[in-house]
Subunit: 472 residues, 2 copies
């Protein structure tokens, strides 16, 4: 599916690369950090997703003949275009483990590469990580709302943003979903696929009962019947029960029914009672229709006996945010620290090669702070607020773990790709270590992020130096 | 880029297809309509987009070996899976012309194919059309806000929903954009590409002036300088003017400057004055940073002298809606009309083979109504509200044009694909025919949609018949 070539980038990356090439600076080394500024959905954390896809793309990235021909036609410098024939990403990448929880300002991925390579890959990196992190975070919130017992299935492909639905199905799993309706994503990513029937199948038969029987005959081990086409409680559920009893006589089992409209709390309770009274206690109830974390929470609070939630639009589009504001900022060129000034201090970038330390409590849980340090620091004794010089926090003696690990060297992965199952498990494990106050939907506790004393001083020195130049 | 195979679908389509196959009904003919229920963005119209991409995918759609192997592994019926080896879409497609304005309830695309083919292509059809129509509509609103003189450029790839950014760049053009930063979309769709420079390029040089000079040297004919890295009016614009004057001495011309932060209205006016005073009257001003149709309208109302707007997130994600609610509903099986009931009358589907007539005024402008009729009707004398039996509208004597045209027969396109430029031009032409009241952002005039008398009667007959059955 993913056929990303060198031109999967913004034109200005190539314009800058051409300028570096022509001025002989293309091979200078650069360091860029990927981070975001605002947690999505008004929540207290984000789930980092997309890393393995990014590494796969970086390993394979080339300009093909169509790319080169197009760039020549665009009037780009012929020698520069020719140089792209040998392009490959040969850089080093450090990253937080995929599935981990991440917070604003902290570098999540660091790219060390030539100026040209680092610039050309910026757009695809942002494109992949911003969207998958957004969707994984949304999925994680739904998992929190649904509890660990319920099955969560991605139904989003039809309302997904075009081919973006493919990555959304993957990111949903990272965030805690169990399965997808998207068969192609299932095929390529090894995600369990799940699907029932549509209203059209019922309509295409003269009678609902005949439709149910035909479906049961074709799917004796995996029959889930959609019961709301005509009248859920007076037609759909009774017909499903009849088919369920016929299946039982054949030694089969009706796997489930699906509710797709109406008051899901009321209907699920009534349907559960009817199924149980008919002895179909093992038949599950699935629900879909404009679900999100708030609707799922409400259904659970009402005690709705729903075993499976199918979620579409709000998951696959990351609504209501629609985008994560992740950016990719220059931190060093040829070992010299770089800064981007801004009138608002909290938008000034953080220079230098860095490490991020997560502060732990005595039991290994997350204490509620990430400290950004110089790459050669081994722990942080005091961290400083990134924009308010009056705020700092003593961390002496608190256990800390580094979050940035080398994942790619000279353009090659350093480890076998992690499986999606492993990433999901890791993410759940990390989420379990975050105290509940950070996970609530309303006014979550603020996770603190700061700079080590050395990094803070170096940044302040650079800010002062820049501001003292008359016209830098 | 687009490598959509047969498994690019929801699992339940394959589950239903298997049931049709096993019951011997797979070759029965079906008719499905694609339509949506709610106009996006609280607007008065939508711009239909994605049709040419859909037809391309339908022509090529196959199950490859990986697909077939996966479906076997999933435990699907071996004979059914084997039958998919010969799968191709061999149906007929009628559609509104891409770029036309479309309204709720009216069929925009009709698919006539075997039950199995029609069901399998549902998901990809919705996936392609829902997203592109959403983005094209958003783009069209920005074009209305910006006026016809301004240049509109899609900068969305970095915040776009993964690979969905590719289609977003295309849909932006349909809706009235001029260019994209997305090089790959430019290459594949023939879209003009456009790009300037990033802050990182300035930071990678010791001085802003040196960065500007290096960029001008590499891009003598297409140099646009980003002026807000340090201080827009005290550093960026003066340095850009200096380089512009140096370029002029070399017989070159500074094409533009770009503002990416701060008060764009104020800064653009100051920058324009400074450029003009220095004789750089031909140098354009580009602006970017969280733009949408409302910000663009405000900038224009303030008289901001901005020549080019670069729009990212809100365009590529179709914010704030994030999705169009388009659906694909069964209208006929083997020539028998089909209905889906619902407790709310306005969600009951419209059965039968249909045509849509757009009512025109005397000058060829849009009068404000689309009438849905039986396929064999040639015009509509009176149209009836789809859910309120007390409302109807006399259309006798008003000019009407049919909107649904055959675009595919036996799985092959009936015409050469329309170019994106043609589609854009057509869309602009259609938009010009819609009265202004339907185009305003606040409380737009309601475009009326209704059913012809024959279709209304047939639908009411079917509703009554369904409701009289005890347990259908």
């Amino acid at each position: 599916m993913i056929d990303i070539t060198g031109t999967y980038t913004d034109q200005y990356q190539l314009a800058m690369a051409q300028a570096y090439f022509l001025s002989g600076r293309g091979r200078e080394s650069a360091r860029f950090d990927y981070f975001f500024r605002k947690l999505p959905f008004g929540g207290g954390y984000a789930v980092f997703a997309g890393l393995e896809d990014l590494l796969t793309v970086l390993e394979r990235l080339r300009f093909d003949e169509a790319d080169l021909g197009f760039l020549r036609e665009q009037g780009m410098d012929p020698a520069f275009v020719e140089s792209l024939r040998g392009f490959a990403f040969r850089g080093r990448v450090l990253a937080v483990r995929e599935g981990d929880l991440v917070f604003p300002t902290c570098p999540v991925v660091t790219v060390e590469a030539s100026l040209i390579e680092a610039q050309i890959v910026e757009t695809l990196l942002l494109n992949i990580l911003n969207f998958q992190t957004l969707v994984a975070t949304k999925a994680s919130r739904m998992r929190l709302a649904a509890g660990n017992e319920a099955t969560l299935v991605d139904f989003g492909l039809r309302r997904a943003p075009g081919l973006g639905g493919y990555a959304a199905s993957r990111a949903a799993i990272v965030g805690g979903f169990d399965a997808t309706s998207n068969v192609r994503a299932g095929r390529d990513y090894g995600i369990p696929v799940s699907g029932t029937m549509a209203h059209s199948f019922i309509q295409a038969h003269d009678q609902e009962l005949a439709a149910f029987r035909a479906f049961a005959a074709a799917h004796p081990t995996n029959c889930v019947l959609l019961v709301d086409t005509y009248d859920t409680l007076h037609s759909g559920v009774p017909n499903a029960i009849r088919v369920g009893q016929e299946m039982r006589q054949r030694g089969q089992r009706l796997r489930g029914i699906r509710l797709d409209s109406g008051d899901l709390a009321y209907l699920s309770k009534q349907a559960r009672n009817m199924l149980d009274a008919a002895g179909l206690t093992e038949t599950k109830i699935a629900a879909s229709n404009q679900l999100d974390e708030y609707v799922i929470r409400s259904l659970r609070e009402q005690g709705a006996p729903i075993d499976l939630f199918g979620v579409g639009t709000s998951l696959a589009t990351g609504q209501p945010d629609g985008a994560l504001d992740g950016v990719y900022k220059l931190a060093e060129v040829e070992g010299r620290p770089c800064l981007k000034l801004s009138e608002s201090t909290d938008k000034i970038t953080v220079p230098c090669a860095k490490q991020v330390f997560r502060v732990l409590d005595e039991t290994g849980g997350f204490w509620g702070a990430d400290a950004i340090a110089m790459a050669d620091e081994t722990d942080v004794e005091r961290m400083h607020h990134p924009s308010d010089p009056h705020q700092s926090l003593v961390l002496v003696g608190r256990p800390q773990e580094p979050l940035l690990h080398p994942v790619m060297a000279q353009g090659r992965r350093r480890h076998e790709p992690a499986s999606l199952t492993e990433i999901k498990r890791y993410s759940q494990e990390r989420l379990a270590r975050l105290p509940a106050e950070y996970k609530r939907f309303e006014y979550p506790h603020l996770y603190k992020v700061g700079l080590s004393t050395r990094l803070d001083q170096e940044r302040n020195r650079l800010i002062a130096a820049h501001r003292s130049e008359p016209s830098s």
